[in-house]
């Protein structure tokens, strides 16, 4: 079957799926949706529709993630009237109503809806692309996520899938690399190395056997971009890997995916089987003189295995530990052969670039940072989720417009980008354009795209300590600066948070941080001190308050705070007495309560429970 036939067949399959007159239910069932209960909701829809003979023909599908995590579970329903409405926060209890009203009577339930996805307008509902969260986004990498059924290759093909690869197949290998160079795409795994250049190194390396590897070992705490793409659109990544394989002359690709992503692995397995079925894998891919195979390698979850040399060791069955370069993987990589490693997001962008052209991609973004970047927006923000924006967009737009501002309207203090390797950007840089250069200027990094918003109720010492706990745990132990440096940084941050800090600790943190940055073997160690160093630079006063005044201004560090009840505000509702896990709050009904400081464990449960704001922290 020619590729045109394959595409034709796929379009027919997609038409059935997309026909506006067929009632349809799409349940966002990526890991994020599942965590919010999407599978129960899915089962409830199936059950409801099966019970009603009139609804037997309703198409029910699992789809990937649209990125609106704050609103999960998300369900898109298209009734017989033809309007596709996205419902948010769908619980099992809402399913009978939705089925009856929208599917049955063709009356969308606007009160539960987030937006209109397609079809005739519905009063009171704005369209998806007009949502404040979506308006500023540009969806290239996540172009299909939440839109198509990720377990159906026809959906991907019908929306232009694999046409980038067939285009590449018609080009000279060097021309493919040139196309990537023109696009200006830089590695999305964190370091931002120009992808086209990286490919050209591996292409030039001598040798018959070469490898391409997809790095799907997403390990930053709070980062879930790669997972979403793999779960919502696995073919976009696999097509990118196929193109990379063709361009550098590799016959074998590996996807190194962490075992903690079982759904992503399942989707990848399905997708690889479908590729084989369609002739997109094998000795002669699409009949061409190009053979390619893909192997999935599950990683055991070590953060350091995201580092490319460690990752290759892990694929080889050895302990995942980085090694010094040179030799670079492009010269001597996996099993000693020339190897090219790209991140999930990079490869998903590659398939889009080959489909639409490098010039198209290069128009997006800034001069040095082209294209789009996905971010996982988390922390103290109103709309958490996965977003994709053009490079150069301001932090303010991301946080205020897309994210809806700081949670509960509180004051913005800082944003942490780049995960454990990144830094904290204070509020004064709120208008900073987000691209590789500007983030580096303020001491942070793009990283893989974690973005954690911090408000005034977060303690910066605690934030730094959190990330150091992570890196201290994840250091592979090979090189001295990282192994011992993270331990000492964590020790001092713990001391400071516990009120045992000394002023000269701050200087020692800087010295150790500097040593780690300059002398560590791999990126993990070189960047591990960043959370401590950047908070120290921007929030010195907070550190000094912990050390000199033995106070935590944000009211977070337990050893330095005490909770008390403002007798004037307390209504004696007993909510705090019930919330307290150690019975430290005493008081009778309708009489002001008191906290016994000797019993209190400073967990803050009373403060959360109090509706009057009477529990104070100092």
């Amino acid at each position: 079957m020619s590729f045109a036939d394959i595409q034709q067949q796929a379009r027919q399959s997609w038409m059935r799926f997309a026909r506006p007159d067929v009632p349809r239910v799409l349940v966002g069932s990526a890991t994020c949706g599942r965590a919010a209960g999407a599978l129960d909701v899915l089962a409830a829809f199936r059950e409801q529709c099966a019970d009603d003979p009139a609804l037997k023909g309703v198409d029910i599908h699992e789809v990937g993630c649209l990125g609106m995590c704050y609103a999960e579970p998300l369900v898109e329903i298209r009734g017989s009237e033809g309007s596709s409405v996205l419902y948010q926060g769908v619980g099992v209890d809402m399913v009978p109503d939705l089925v009856r009203e929208h599917l049955g009577r063709g009356k969308p339930m606007v009160e539960h809806a987030a937006c209109l996805m397609a079809g005739p307008p519905v009063e009171g509902l704005s369209r998806f692309q007009d949502l404040p969260m979506i308006r500023h986004q540009l969806r290239v990498v996540v172009r299909n996520c939440g839109i198509i059924d990720p377990s159906n290759i026809d959906h991907y093909l019908a929306r232009g899938g694999y046409s980038g690869f067939t285009r590449a197949l018609g080009m000279d290998q060097d021309a493919v690399i040139e196309e990537i160079k023109i696009s200006g795409l830089r590695g999305r795994g964190g370091a931002g190395f120009p992808t086209g250049l990286k490919w050209s190194f591996a292409r030039k390396s001598a040798g018959d056997v070469k490898y391409v590897v997809c790095n799907a070992d997403e390990g930053d705490p709070g980062a879930f971009m790669d997972r979403s793409v793999l779960e919502g659109d696995p073919h976009a990544v696999l097509e990118g890997l196929l193109i990379a394989g063709y361009a550098i002359g590799a016959g074998h690709g590996y996807v190194y995916c962490r075992a903690e992503y079982p759904l992503a692995i399942e989707r990848l397995r399905t997708a690889i089987a479908q590729m084989r079925e369609k002739g997109l894998l094998g000795r002669n891919v699409l009949g061409a003189a190009f053979g390619f195979e893909i192997t999935i390698k599950k990683g055991a979850g070590a953060f350091v295995c995201g580092e490319e040399t460690a990752l290759m060791q892990s694929i080889e069955g050895k302990r995942g530990m980085p090694r010094s370069r040179p030799p670079f993987p492009a010269v001597s990589g996996l099993f000693g052969k020339p190897t090219n490693i790209n991140n999930v997001e990079t490869l998903a962008a590659v398939s889009a670039i080959l489909e639409k052209s490098g010039a198209w991609y290069a128009k997006i973004g800034t001069e040095k940072s082209k294209g789009t970047k996905t971010f996982s927006l988390a922390g103290k923000i109103t709309r958490t989720g996965l977003i994709e924006v053009p490079m150069g967009i301001s932090l303010r737009t991301i946080i205020e417009d897309i994210g809806g501002g700081v949670l509960h309207g509180k004051e913005f203090k800082a944003v942490q980008t780049g995960g454990p390797s990144g830094g904290c950007i204070p509020a004064k840089h709120f208008d900073l354009p987000v691209d590789y250069e500007h983030l580096a200027q303020v001491g942070s990094i793009m990283g893989s795209g974690g973005m954690i918003v911090i408000d005034h109720e977060s303690c910066m010492v605690d934030v730094a300590k959190y990330f150091l706990e992570f890196t201290e745990n994840e250091s592979c132990g090979k090189c001295v600066p990282c192994r011992m440096g993270t331990q000492h940084l964590l020790r001092m941050l713990t001391d400071i948070a516990a009120g045992r800090g000394r002023v000269d600790d701050l200087e020692t943190i800087r010295k150790i941080g500097d040593t780690m940055t300059k002398a560590s073997l791999c990126g993990l160690g070189q960047t591990a001190p960043n959370p401590a160093l950047t908070t120290l630079n921007s929030f010195m006063d907070e550190y000094l308050a912990h050390i000199e005044e033995r106070k935590c201004p944000a009211g977070v560090c337990r050893a330095l705070i005490r909770f008390s009840i403002d007798a004037g505000q307390c209504t004696g509702c007993m909510a705090c007495t019930k919330a307290c896990p150690v019975q430290a709050v005493a008081g009778k009904k309708k009489k002001p309560h008191r906290i016994d400081q000797n019993v209190c464990i400073r967990c803050g449960a009373c403060r959360q429970a109090c509706k009057e704001g009477a529990v104070m922290v100092e």
Binding site: A300, A302, V304, R319, M321, R323, S324, P326, E472, N473, E474, S475, C476, G477, K478, C479, V480, P481, R483, M484, G485, T486, Q487, H488, R491, T508, K511, I512, T515, K518, A519, S520, L521
Partner: protein, 834 residues
């Protein structure tokens, strides 16, 4: 091969293509510090000490991993490099007991402590068996000042002492990974690797298996390549650095592997691989057994003859005369049995002797575990067919074969049943004690070096046989030199190799050496299934005695023991001590009473593991019984109101000063207690002391808590602030001596608790005698407290080290087989690091 020209520190260096920047610098004589690099290993780049600056290269690449390139401009020295290296070294040392780097008393301490103490856990230089040859320490000594002042982060890994032959203390490990890299190089698949992550990262086997069950062949290369005291040869470790090394070959099996003998003061302390190459690997017996065989405490020392059923030690001449006379008399019915584990020369002379005397001759080959060599009919056959006179060069025959012989000459180095019946017994030098040559299974002839001294009057067999030949007047056995004998051997056949070489498979280790069971000589071999001679089971566990109520490791290597001893508790006074015996066969050792409870009938001691006896006590579990507790012994400290009393305690002395502080304060004194330790993590009982003192001050040798230094620095501070009426110091001899020298010019009465070797503790044996103001005193009954200013410290130090070698040799070499079977029982972790 192509050449590369590069510039290092302004000097042009030419190297072969493929060389690293580090190689190039070394070639040019430019020193770059490094610890993970090793000439026999591939570059690894972990210690980060060898960083350099290279023009056009971002950051600070490691010279060990960077290939030299044409035109490269390298700088090995710059202020920034120096700073980074010093800080990296400090970071490295913060994960390793770091007194080598930071202790202000290091030099003085080492001058008085020439040999390391045989501690359980190594927490400082004085406890480190590796300090004479520690690469890390050498780097530290060159480093100069500190910058970060980091405290030690002691990981508190369990000591690993259950495996045969090796002691492992991963608290000293800096993860240079030399061990697993050499294991991988030599054996392909390494038995060890780095396990866990982050602060838990360490070297270990998969799933915490014992090394016996991990595929380890005990070649010892990891121990020999370890730059720290982490991996040590249990037998060799406390003997100190070898002064002589000699290449030789192993004769224990037909492989004839090359080995290097490590000799200290004429004593063989270890044998190791000649090179870190796969072909050079040794088996467990060759690597670890050799020295134990040679140093066996049962070695035969003197020529002995038997007359009328009684045996006498005689000189060599008389013994040889007796042997010659016996042989002449029984020439017609003589048989000679020798071991194939002998030099070609020895064997040749035995063979010549057999020819000359018309005797039967057989050489018994070495055999792998599980097989027994066949003996010739003329020793085991029907009585009539047997030889009635024998020369045995080993232990080959059972009692039934030995009965009724007319004449028996035994030439051997180790005891056997035959020895009891021998008419003449001639003590032979073994293995590294005799020179010669050996033909290996592959036909190669290897030289055997005489590198260590034979014990007592033992002599090489070729010398004995040569003399015997002279006594018998045998012309064919008259040689000018050993070389002539070697030349006369000619083309002897190569021995038959084992089916599997022992160095690849521990299950094929030779079970016998000269007919003696190797497991008898090297007890740890039992871990590989080699059996020792069955011994009558002797229970050495005390059933009656003094119950151990509580035992706890308060700080690394410091154990608290609470023992039920009502009589001692009822009569104890501050300053007194007790003598303990863990088992009935244990040594008697004194310990100062740290506390007692007359009502509960219990006493409390602080014990530091520094050798065999303290280890036996430290390993006892709560509920077990000590064979013996005697006390209270010694004179109580004369407690009286004197004014301000300053007490200093270090190590076990921290415990010892507690009852003194309490009593002195009750007597109305103002009591200041000062405690010291190498680092904050080694301090204990600070709160307990605070409760019985007016003030407690702390000193650490790394400055991690309190004053930087030791007790003496704090004493100086106190004297500068207030008048003091009495000083008392209890701790190591070095600390007490320093205090004595410090307070002498102040003219303040100073008392120290002396700790000489003691046996009975009641003034009978005199082992504990010390000189105070020129007068001989017994520490047990006149002490333990003496005027510090009158102590002859040099004499004390000398007497304390009198049995240093015996103390080392007393350390146990056998392994606990049940501990080996269930190594993971105490560590229920999966190994993933979480």
């Amino acid at each position: 091969m192509a050449e590369i020209h590069l510039t290092i520190d302004g000097r042009t260096v030419t190297v072969k293509a493929g060389a690293t920047v580090l190689h190039a610098a070394r070639q040019a004589g430019i020193p770059i510090p490094t610890i993970c690099d090793h000439k026999d290993l591939n570059p690894y780049g972990a210690c980060r000490m060898c960083i350099v600056e290279i023009e056009g290269v971002r950051g600070f690449p490691t010279s060990c991993t960077t290939p030299a390139a044409e035109g490269m401009q390298v700088r090995t020295r710059s202020p920034e490099l120096e700073t980074l290296r010093r800080r990296t070294l400090e970071l490295m040392f913060s994960g390793h007991p770091n007194t080598c780097l930071v202790c202000p008393h290091r030099e003085a301490c080492e001058s008085m402590r020439p040999m390391a103490t045989k501690a359980g856990r190594t927490t400082r230089c004085g406890f480190c068996s590796n300090r004479e040859e520690c690469d890390l320490r050498n780097m530290a000594l060159q480093a100069g000042g500190r910058d970060l002042n980091l405290p030690t982060l002691y990981a508190a890994h369990n000591l690993e002492r259950d495996d045969p032959f090796m002691d492992r203390d991963y608290n000293l490990c800096i993860l240079c990974a030399r061990c697993w890299r050499i294991c991988e190089k030599i054996h392909g698949k390494p038995a060890i690797s780095i396990i866990n992550r982050g602060r838990q990262a360490r070297v270990g086997t998969a799933f915490h298996k014992s090394h016996v069950h991990s595929g380890c062949t005990f070649c010892g290369s990891c121990i020999d390549i370890c730059p720290t005291g982490t991996l040590t040869d249990r037998f060799a470790r406390w003997h100190g650095k070898a002064d002589t090394r000699a290449d030789s070959a192993c004769i224990l099996c037909p492989e004839g592997c090359s080995l290097t003998a490590h000799v200290k003061g004429g004593q063989l302390v270890a044998t190791a691989m000649t090179a870190f190459e796969p072909d050079s690997s040794l088996c467990a017996l060759g690597r670890f057994g050799y020295a134990q065989i040679v140093n066996a405490p049962t070695r035969l020392l003197r020529p002995t003859i038997r007359d009328n059923g009684e045996s006498f030690s005689v000189d060599w001449d008389s013994a040889l005369d007796a042997a010659a006379a016996g042989l002449s008399k029984h020439e017609s019915a003589l048989g000679i049995l020798v071991s194939a584990a002998a030099s070609r020369e020895d064997r040749h002379l035995y063979h010549l002797l057999a020819q000359e005397l018309g005797a039967k001759f057989a050489a018994i080959p070495a055999t792998p575990a599980g097989t027994k060599p066949l003996l010739p009919k003329w020793v085991t056959g029907p009585k009539k067919s047997r030889s009635s006179a024998l020369i045995l060069s080993g232990d080959f025959l059972e009692d039934k074969h030995l009965a009724g012989l007319d004449f028996l000459l035994v030439i051997d180095g180790l005891p056997s049943p035959a020895q009891e019946r021998a008419d003449v017994l001639l003590p032979a030098a073994l293995l590294s004690e005799a020179e010669g040559t050996f033909r290996t299974a592959s036909g190669q002839i290897k030289d055997l070096a005489r590198s260590s001294r034979a014990p007592g009057m033992a002599r090489p067999e070729w010398e004995i046989l040569w003399d015997l030949g002279q006594k018998l007047g045998l012309k064919s056995m008259a040689f000018d030199s050993l070389d002539h004998i070697t030349a006369a051997v000619g083309e002897d056949p190569a021995p038959q190799a084992f089916a599997d070489a022992p160095r690849h498979d521990v299950r094929t280790l030779p079970a016998f050496y000269r007919g003696h069971r190797t497991a008898d000589l090297v007890p740890a071999l039992e871990a590989f299934g080699l059996s020792a001679t069955p011994r009558p089971l002797k229970q050495d566990v005390s059933i009656e005695g003094f119950q151990l109520l509580e035992t706890r490791e308060l700080a690394p290597n410091m154990h608290l023991l609470r023992i039920k001893a009502p009589q001692v508790a009822a009569h104890a006074k501050p300053g007194q001590f007790v003598i303990l015996m863990a088992k009935e066969t244990s040594e008697r050792t004194p310990y100062t009473l740290a506390d007692w409870d007359a009502e509960a009938g219990s006493i409390t001691l602080i014990l530091e593991e520094v050798g065999r006896s303290s280890r036996e006590l430290a390993l006892l579990k709560a509920g077990e019984v000590l064979a013996h507790v005697s006390g209270p012994l010694g004179k109580p400290f004369p407690v009286a109101k004197k004014g301000t009393v300053v007490l200093g305690g270090g190590c076990y002395g921290i415990g010892a000063i507690l009852p003194l502080a309490r009593a002195l304060r009750q007597a109305g004194n103002h009591v200041l207690s000062v405690i010291e330790a190498s680092s904050a993590y080694l301090l204990f009982w600070e709160e307990e002391l605070r409760a019985v003192s007016d003030e407690v001050r702390v000193a650490t040798k790394d400055g991690s808590r309190g004053a930087y230094g030791g007790v003496q620095e704090v004493f100086q501070q106190i004297v500068d602030q207030q008048p003091v009426d009495i000083f008392i110091a209890v701790g190591c001899t070095f600390m007490m001596r320093m205090v004595a020298e410090l307070t002498k010019p102040w003219n303040v009465p100073t008392f120290v608790a002396l700790n000489p070797i003691m046996v009975d503790g009641t003034g009978m044996c005199g082992a504990c005698r010390v000189s105070i103001h020129g007068e001989t005193k017994f520490a047990c009954i006149d002490g333990p407290f003496f005027d510090a200013h009158g102590v002859d410290w040099d004499e004390l130090a000398c007497r304390k080290s009198a049995y240093a070698r015996e103390e080392v040799e007393a350390l146990p070499q056998a392994v606990d087989l049940s501990a080996l079977m269930f190594p993971g029982a105490a560590r229920p972790r999966c190994g993933c690091g979480r």
